[in-house]
Amino acid sequence: MSTITLLFSIFLLTLLMITTMAIVRTRNLFVAVMLMGIASLLIAASFFLLDAADVALTEAAVGAGISTVLFLGALALTSERERSPSSLPLLSLGIVAIVALIVIYATFDQPPLGSPSAPVQAHLTPWYIESTRELIDIPNVVTAVLASFRGYDTLGEVIVVFTAGVGVLFLLGTGASASAAGAPLSEDNAGLRHYLIPRILGRLLIPFILLLGFYVQFHGEYSPGGGFQAGAIVAASIILYSLLEGEQRALLVIPQGVLLAMMVGGVLLYGAVGVAGLVLGGNFLDYSVLDSDPVKGQQWGILLIEIGIGITVAGVLISIFHAFASRGAA
């Protein structure tokens, strides 16, 4: 890392700290959410400087994008201002300070950042890089580890997303689906259709965002990206569409039932690939047996489960958005 990136990195982190302080201090929740988006972007940039392109992409899409939209959706239904607390929470400050000191205390014995002899670099990493070349033969090691070596974790991750979807639907209901499907489009629920410029710009953007999503989905083996990022990006484009054209139109394009099918279908696709490995004589989630050539099998497996992830993530995120939005309409 050159001196310039080093300085830039320090600059980013300092900015990040200032932003987070501001987030905690401000009483305006709208401002706090916007600053959260900025903080996410700063973190994403730092990740990029730390060679974590995949994570940076995800943090940008999820942290700055989806999370901001959800917070804003929630704010629209609650209140934008935080009430000022009655007294200064000295106890909390005390606890926080002590834990902070403990964490900082821990840093003094750590292996220095970036040292090749650090256990993180020396123990598992070389094997992953070697094996990805030999056994899976795709360039993006992150994808290989994510989808195959630790594919079970990723299955768990999809389940977490699915659980969140189930939970939000349980809590908020599927919302206005019944009325939205058949009822004529009302004017007050028409998004930003009366504003010409955002609408034109948005309409122009949506196809490109979708395209980006599909690129990220199917190019994840070669460059940063994969199912999660793609799912988030596709969801973002649909959410943008419903913001522009209104809830009901968006639900006409992708109805509630389809969203549910996407949530379920993605998980089942992932699970089916796992079970297929089991049926074909391997272990659960063993892709090598999917094809006569184990390497091909691995690639097939990774492709399929990434699609499964993408479908579920998109389905869940869009469903959650609709659930939030319909709550406001009701």
Binding site: A52, L75, R83, P85, D153, A164
Partner: protein, 116 residues
């Protein structure tokens, strides 16, 4: 290099505690969730930091580079980010229901209403 490494960890500590402070000290439920988000982001930064290898590049083989930062922390954090957004979404859905049920999203006001 050492300085940067330590600086990263300190930022991690500060972020962690800023988030934690918002969780424990702020009565507003949405602010608590924002704090929770920050709290988790701090951990992401910590993981990615110790995955970094000096002089390495993103772990994408075949571009001629031979030194790669460790892919494993990145994979873990990809998962953790998704877990974090899932928790946030569920938490926000709860906040909406709480707002409907209590007409408030301030913790102390909610507790007052529950106290008979």
């Amino acid at each position: 290099m050492d300085i940067l490494g330590l600086y990263h960890y300190w930022v991690f500590a500060v972020l962690l505690m800023t988030g934690f402070y918002a969780i424990v000290a702020k009565p507003n439920l949405i602010k608590k969730l924002i704090g929770l988000s920050l709290f988790q982001s701090a951990v992401f930064l910590c993981y990615i930091t110790f995955g970094k290898l000096a002089g390495g590049t993103a772990p994408i083989v075949g571009k001629g580079a031979e030194l790669f930062s460790s892919p494993l922390p990145q994979v873990l954090i990809l998962t953790a980010i998704v877990v974090s957004i899932s928790t946030t979404a569920l938490g926000l859905a709860l906040v909406l229901r709480i707002k409907e049920a209590y007409g408030s999203i301030e913790e102390d006001e909610i507790q007052e209403q529950d106290a008979p």
